[in-house]
Amino acid sequence: MTHLVQTAAPVATAAKPIHILKALNQAITDAMEADDTVIVLGEDVADPEEGGVVGVTRGLSTKFGDARVRSTPISEQAIMGAAIGASLVGYKPVAEIMLMNFVTVAMDMIVNHAAKLRFMSGGQTSVPIVIRTSTGVGLGTGGQHADYLEGWFAHTAGIKVVCPSTPADAYGLMRAAIDDPDPVLFIENMPSYWQKGPPPERGYYVPLGKAATRVEGTHVTVVSYSRMANECLAAASKAAERGVSAEVIDLRTVSPWDREAVLASVAKTGRLLVVHEAVRKFGVGAEIAAEVNEAMFGKLKAPIRRMGSAYCPVPFAKELENIYAPNASAIADAIVELGKE
């Protein structure tokens, strides 16, 4: 199959901005149109159940039929098992686990099976599934509906982890994830489903493992992904007003992450800040910081900094939720401090 592969998201000219939710819906629709083996399952994903709790899969069952788009019981192990089994014999399931915290119920299927069957079978079988899930603070859902757990899966050999932050990337990464021959955990940010941006060009793919430089800068490299990449962009503008120039890299794929792009940027700036919504402790930021430190020790102008959420479950009270995760103003402060070191 030939398809357009570009690292910078091309946008259809003179088209109206669309939100991330619509971009995801278009990507799955286009993938299903292009390939009969793409199938969809998950809780409430079919149209009689409203096409998903927020509507990412709305319209698919009507368009492609009940055989290919199936609402499931609330049985995360069964959902993942069905996806894995079908994928072993030629299908490309897109399985929705409604919220990221619910993946905990299906960890055995994801970690012990989806991620390992290629290796344990000596390459005889593969598991080309996409596990779509959604998470993120901001909607007052408390401790069991908003965690970022990408670090667990990045730590698991055999599964890729993708976290888009724009509509065009959401589309392009989803197309790439569906076509990928291995399992991909696709993490969507719940509060930014309705975030608008330039629409994707239909049929375009964002290669997995390639970061995007959102804004170029000279003093500090800021590495992030998912909603936090947008917070970092806003923070970079604030920092620029205070005289510090930040280069913002959106990883887009957390595992495998674009080491080359990050190292090239840090080689230029000599300073690195990693920002994610997952709890800071033992997070993805620690791995990136350690890798960059090993590669560039002696060339760094300041110690690498990390920002992440507080070491506690996501709190409910709005006042606590507001300060739980990093935000643009805290990130801007960190950029400025780091830039002056």
Binding site: I39, G81, A82, G85, N112, H113, M120, T125, G209
Partner: protein, 326 residues
């Protein structure tokens, strides 16, 4: 009560049983002699179940099995040499020595997954069944598991989904009366595993897992039902595991009287006698079959022991389709 089964079918089943039994005996012998080191879960006593089920399956039907599942694989057609090389951890193994005795795969014969996690064969069998349903190729998926697995969530989620979606799946519980070290009664609230099918609106069939005719009848009906689109069946095949949970455990938790009685009533020689009595095979033919199996196992073991282990580069291969610097 043994269901009647004709001599030709009994013979076909016994041919598999003889291989399965001899292979288990050899595995324990090789372990005892220290020729190989591996975690080994003996299935001695349970051979008739997959042997009878497999005679009702097509070559392209699927199975998902578990760590105590080498009998299930051999009955479905796993090649001996590559099996032995795999459990020996050699590069010539069916999974290049990277899976081992608990994780064998052989898609050519529909052996899709072997799991070391209790209960995890069922959810994946559903997915294979879903694929058959979508493609209309008529394939059936069998999930093998033990009585202990009927207490884990995956079992219940899987039966429910298979029933709701009418999947062409047959759930075969080999009830050997022990969940690892714990007796059936101590760990299972249901009087029998097959009763659990009732809650999922599918047939629950209990059969004598030590009688070829009884298993064959249950399996044939369940497989036909699955293939014709009528949905899943739960089969509970009653049997007895002659040895401890894992090779080397003291099995002090097993009732010695029960064990002795089961071993005295060994279903394998019983089936052998039944075949000879039915005139489907002579004693001489049986002896020749068994001798051939022994020599095939000899060859397989020698092949495995002479093979080289996988090279260190294999640590970086088969993580993903393309090598990725993660």
């Amino acid at each position: 009560m043994a269901d009647p089964i004709n001599g030709a079918i009994a013979r076909q089943i016994y041919e598999k049983v003889a291989l399965l039994k001899a292979n288990d005996e050899r595995a324990r012998k090789v372990l005892k002699a220290g020729q190989l080191v591996m975690p080994y879960y003996s299935y001695r006593g349970q051979e008739l179940i997959p042997a009878a089920v497999s005679t009702c399956l097509r070559e392209d039907d699927y199975i998902c099995t578990i760590y105590r599942g080498i009998h299930d694989m051999l009955a479905k057609g796993m090649p001996l040499k590559q099996l032995w090389a795999e459990i020996a951890g050699r590069a010539t193994g069916i999974c290049k020595g990277k899976g081992g005795p608990m994780h064998l795969t052989y898609p050519d014969k529909g052996i899709m997954v072997t799991t070391g996690i209790v209960g995890s064969s069922l959810p994946i069998a559903n997915g294979l069944g879903w694929a058959s349903q979508l493609s209309g190729d008529g394939r059936v998926a069998v999930a093998y598991f033990g009585d202990g697995a009927s207490n884990i969530g995956a079992f219940h989620e899987s039966l429910n989904l298979a029933s709701v979606w009418k999947l062409p799946v047959v759930f075969v519980c080999q009830n050997n009366l022990y969940a690892e070290h714990t007796t059936y009664e101590k760990g299972t609230s249901a009087k029998q595993v097959s009763d659990r099918a009732f809650g999922y609106s599918m047939p629950g069939v209990r059969c004598d897992g030590n009688d070829a005719g009884s298993i064959h009848a249950a399996a044939r009906e369940a497989i036909e039902r699955a293939r014709s689109g009528e949905g899943p069946t739960l089969i509970e095949a009653m049997t007895f595991r002659f040895h401890g949970h894992v090779y080397g455990d003291a099995d002090s938790y097993m009732d010695p009287a029960l064990k002795e009685a089961a071993m005295t009533d060994d279903p394998a020689p019983r089936l052998r006698a039944q075949v000879i009595a039915s005139d489907a095979a002579s004693e001489a033919e049986m002896a020749a079959l068994e001798a051939r199996i022994e020599s095939e196992i000899d060859e397989a073991v020698a092949f495995a022991l002479a093979s080289a282990p996988p090279g260190p580069e294999e640590l970086e291969i088969d993580i993903f389709a393309e090598e990725v610097m993660a």
